[in-house]
Every structure is written in C-alpha cells, then in structure tokens.
C-alpha cells in the first residue's frame, strides 16, 4: 500500500472521529467526549455511569440512534455511489441512477396518501425502490442491442422520470393540509425522530448490501472497463453487474426508506475519497464508506443545530455539495484522479 493511501485513510478516520464528537457535543443537551466515554464504559461494564439519567436517555434513545443512522446511511450511499460510478464508467452517476430513489419516493408518498403507519410507509418505500430497479433491469435486459451498460442507464433515466410523474400525481391528489407537507418533508430527507426501533429494519439491508459491495471492490476496477475488455480479462460481467446493482439498490432503498431522499452524498463523497486515496476501487471503497458516514453525520448535526427548526437534509447536502463539487471540478487534475 502506498504511503498516500495510509495518509488518506488517516485523514478520513480523523474526520469521522471529529464528526462523531461534534454530533454528541452539539445540541440542547451537549455531551462531551468524557461523558461519552463514561457512558460507553458503563454500557460495557454494567457499572453505573454517574451521569444524570436525562443525559443517558438522550444518548441511548435519541442522539445515539440518530448518529448511528446518519453513519449507516452516509456510508451506504457513498459505497453504492462509488460502485455505480465504476459500473457505469461515469463519475457523474449517483446511486439513484436506476430509479431506486424515485421508486422509493413513490412508495412513500403512496403510503402517506393512503394514511398508512410509519413502518408501513417505510416498507412501501423500500419495496418501491426494489420494484423500480427490478423493472429497469428487466426492461434493460430484454433490449439486446448496443452496450448493455448504456441501455441500463437510459432505461433508468426514462423510468425515473415516469416515476417522477407518478410522485407528482399523488402529491396533486393529496390533502394539502395534512398529507402534502408530510410528503414534502419526506422527499427532502430527514433523520429527525430516528429511534432504536427504526434502526433494526435499516440495519439488515444496509449491512448486507454494503458488505457485498466492499467484498466485490477488487473486481470493480476491471468492471469499469468497456464490457468486452472486462470479459476478456475473465470477468463474468453479467452476474457481477447484477450483484452490484442488487447490493447498491438494497442499501439505497433502505436509506431512502429510513431517512427520505438524501441526494449528493452518493455523488460527492466518492470524489472526495478519490481525492484522498486515488481511483483504485480496492482502496477507494472502504475510504468512501468512512467519509460518507462522517459527511452525512456533519450534515445531520448542522440540520438539527443550525436553525430554530430542523433544516431538511436534502437542502443542506445540495447547498454544501454544489460549491464543493464545483471546487473539485476546478481543482481536479483531469481523468478523475
């Protein structure tokens, strides 16, 4: 491993640590590093922590789950985005390119429109994402002309805009006083009110999908070559592509189901990670996971502390992501290094 890769990962890990300390340290009940350490120790050893029970509740039931959700969603979206940028040989691709987000969004607004419970809305969002990508993949596979990767992307874009029309229709039908604000809030993304109960359903698909992507990362280099070159190097491109798409869709749909639509993380973080450790996917994927978790956690901390009311995550990721991305474009040495 090159020295620069070690340095890059050290930077990523320290940023993550800062993000975690910041997240606990800011808010109506600030929790310092000392208190946090004492609480963790008491959780491990079973000894009383000596902290006020109010603080303990804040950490275990409110801020802790929210921090964990931000880390999980951020890491998962960044890993999925990294994998998709390689798979589709395009650095401007994000994990929702095949319609995972739009499908999940349609599932969620339908759930809200039908006045379902929170868990049912999340389930409907998750299934919506899977069904959308499944449909895109099925349609893309029946078209045998041309480059399969290009066909898949184009099908994704077209199906995505159809789903967008569906979302618009449901919003148009919705009750403008109760349902429409809920839909708008959900479409902009938020981790507010994340509880321990919300974490469990998120954990399964996110860990499964991320683990698969991390395990396959050494094959992603060759998968980013033109189809026939990858095949000539001995890769079974069809099954590999399906595996990457399924894994990335699992994590994206689960994240959207838990937190609404959070754009930009899957697009920007892979570039930031490439900036630190270079484009080789073997090193890139773990670094992107660390950075993605930290990035979304910082955004979420801002979302909950920067104003008198919560700012939606989607707004903040765009406001921070846009100038950052422009800076990255201007300073990149060409060839997405």
């Amino acid at each position: 491993m090159r020295r620069s890769a070690i340095g890059g990962n050290a930077i990523a890990l320290s940023l993550l640590a800062c993000a975690v300390l910041l997240a606990f340290g800011l808010g109506r009940f600030p929790v310092g590093p000392g208190d946090l350490g004492r609480l963790l120790w008491s959780g491990l050893s079973g000894q009383p922590s000596g902290l006020p029970s109010q603080i303990e509740t804040v950490i275990w039931n409110i801020r802790g789950p929210r921090v964990l959700a931000a880390l999980l969603c951020g890491a998962a979206l960044a890993v999925a985005g990294t994998a998709f940028q390689g798979l589709f040989r395009n650095p401007l691709v994000s994990p929702d390119i095949l319609g995972a987000s739009s499908g999940a969004a349609l599932g969620a607004v339908l759930g809200i429109y039908l006045s379902l419970g929170l868990f049912a809305i999340q389930l409907s969002a998750f299934l919506g994402g899977l069904v959308a990508v499944g449909a895109v993949y099925a349609v893309g596979s029946t078209i045998r002309r041309g480059d399969p990767v290009l066909v898949l992307v184009l099908t994704g874009v077209v199906v995505g805009s159809l789903l967008g029309a569906g979302i618009g229709l449901v919003k148009y039908w919705a009750d403008p006083y109760n349902q429409l604000p809920a839909m708008t809030f959900w479409l902009l993304g938020s981790l507010a009110g994340t509880s321990k109960a919300d974490l469990l359903p998120l954990l399964g698909p996110v860990l499964l999908g991320s683990a698969a992507l991390v395990a396959l990362r050494w094959r992603m280099n060759a998968m980013s070559l033109p189809e026939e070159e990858a095949q000539a190097l001995g890769l079974r491109t069809g099954p590999l592509r399906l595996a990457i798409v399924v894994a990335a869709t699992l994590v994206t749909a689960a994240s959207v189901a838990a937190a609404g639509i959070i754009g930009w993380v899957g697009l920007v973080v892979p570039h930031l990670a490439r900036f630190l450790v270079g484009p080789d996917f073997g090193r890139l994927v773990p670094t992107a996971a660390v950075l993605g978790g930290g990035y979304l956690l910082v955004i979420d901390t801002l979302a909950r502390t920067a104003g008198p009311v919560e700012t939606p995550l989607g707004i903040l990721t765009a406001v921070i992501g846009t100038p950052f991305f422009i800076w990255l474009l201007a300073s990149s040495r060409g060839g997405w290094s």
Binding site: W218, Q231, A232, G234, L235, G282, G334
Partner: protein, 254 residues
C-alpha cells in the same frame, strides 16, 4: 497446441458478418490479419477470443472447444490487447496491469503478492516499470499501448490477440510495439494481430490471412502471399512496389 478455427461463421444474432474462415495459430508463431476497413476483422477477433459465440463451424483452443471454457479459463489462455483508449478513471499504470490478474484470483480476492510480482515483471519486460505509479490517463498513446500489452501478458496467456496495436502510434512506437510482438513469439506465445500496413505484416509476421467482406481471400506464409497483385485485389487500389538492392520489398498504395 493451437487456436484453430474450421469452417467458422461469425457475427451477431441478427447479422452474419463472415463465414468459411479456416485459421490456425500455433504457439511461437505470428499471424497477421489484413483487410480493408469494415471487412469484419474486429468481429472475427472477438469471436476468436470467445467474447462473441461462433455462429457455425468449429473453434478450438488446444483441442478443446472454446465455448466449453469458463471466462477465467479463457482469460488464462488468451490475452487481449484492445486499441488503447484513455478510460474514465485515472488508475495508475500498475493498477491497469494488475487488472490482467483478475482471472487468477477469487471473486473477492485482493491482488496477491504474486500478482504484484507478475505485474511488475511485465512492466519491466516492456521497459515501462518507471511508469508504474503514473496515472494511465496522463501517459502517451505509445506508453498506453505498451501498458495494455503488459496487462495482457499479466494474464500469463499462451496466445495474445492484438487489435490494430500500432493504429495510433508514431513511427518509433510502431517499431517498438512490433519488435515486442516478435519477441513474444520467440518466447513461445502465439500472436495474432490485425493491421492496415502490409509492410508490417511482411516484416514481422510468419503468416498472413487476408479477409474481405468477412471471407478469407487468401492465407499463407507472409513472404509468398504478400504480392502487389494480391494486395490490389484486397484493397482495390493500385499498389506500387519498391525493391531494395538486397531483394527486400515494400508496398506503397495509390
């Protein structure tokens, strides 16, 4: 031990490109494929590499049907050098060559110590080990072509198939790549390359096959097959022949 095609028909599901191709590439031999633009050379290469299924006839690799081999088995026998392109991501030259080891490791495996050793050995063999940590996107066209040859050699194949290896290279790099091809054959690899330059075939290939409209016009030893008459028939332009005092010839088109 050879890569052999008999009565081979090739092309796509909806359109046959060529047929009646008979071809045999032995280890240690250089075969050049000549043909005008659009004659079906690239599609034939893809078929010989097993990337496109044969539409008819037989295609065998060391006496086994090519279609019976798994993709990794194929990649360990047949190295492919495509025409150089810049690519999307700025991988280091070493990373590019390591991709040639894909068929030697498991699905989840990181490049092993041996993979790194082979990659470095191939870079050294082609004289570009000093480029190992340079971004592949920022090196010259000639260096890219050499890096792609190193990647194909890292597959440790018995045969190497090159698609117009000198198409975008300057005069010096053309010479460099062609001598490298000769050297590979001398070390026991079977080499097949396509080219638009009959002089290259005459100078560096043992045997030549001429194809036009997906059909073999002629094939045989380079020195006897490459005549002005045959080339006029192949390219449909007048060919001028230049003769040196030592009896060697070169062809000029038009």
């Amino acid at each position: 031990m050879s890569l052999s095609a008999a009565d081979l028909a090739y092309g796509y599901r909806e359109r046959l490109i060529g047929r009646d191709i008979a071809l045999s590439l032995a280890r240690g031999e250089v075969l050049a494929l000549l043909g005008p633009n659009g004659s079906g050379k690239t599609t034939l290469l893809k078929t010989l590499l097993g990337l496109l299924p044969a539409r008819g006839g037989s295609l065998t690799l060391d006496e086994r049907p090519l279609s019976a081999l798994s993709p990794p088995e194929r990649a360990r026998a047949l190295g492919y050098v495509p025409q150089a392109h810049a690519g999307t991501f700025a991988f280091t030259v070493l990373s590019v060559v390591l991709m040639g080891r894909s068929a030697h490791g498991g699905l989840f495996a990181a490049p092993s110590r041996r993979d790194h050793a082979v990659a470095h050995a191939m870079l050294e063999r082609l004289g570009i080990d000093r480029l190992a940590q340079r971004p592949y996107t920022l090196i010259s066209g000639g260096e890219r072509q050499l890096a792609l040859i190193a990647r194909a050699l890292a597959q440790e194949p018995a045969y190497v198939i090159l698609d117009e290896p000198t198409a975008s290279l300057d005069f010096g790099n053309q010479g460099r790549v062609m001598s490298e091809i000769r050297r590979l054959a001398a070390e026991g690899l079977g080499v097949l390359f396509t080219t638009h330059d009959p002089n290259q075939a005459l100078r560096h290939a043992d045997r030549v096959m001429m194809i036009r409209d997906g059909q073999a016009l002629a094939s045989g030893p380079a020195s006897t097959l490459l005549t002005p008459e045959r080339l006029e028939q192949l390219y449909r332009v007048p060919i001028e022949t230049v003769r040196g005092d030592d009896g060697r010839v070169a062809f000029l088109p038009g």
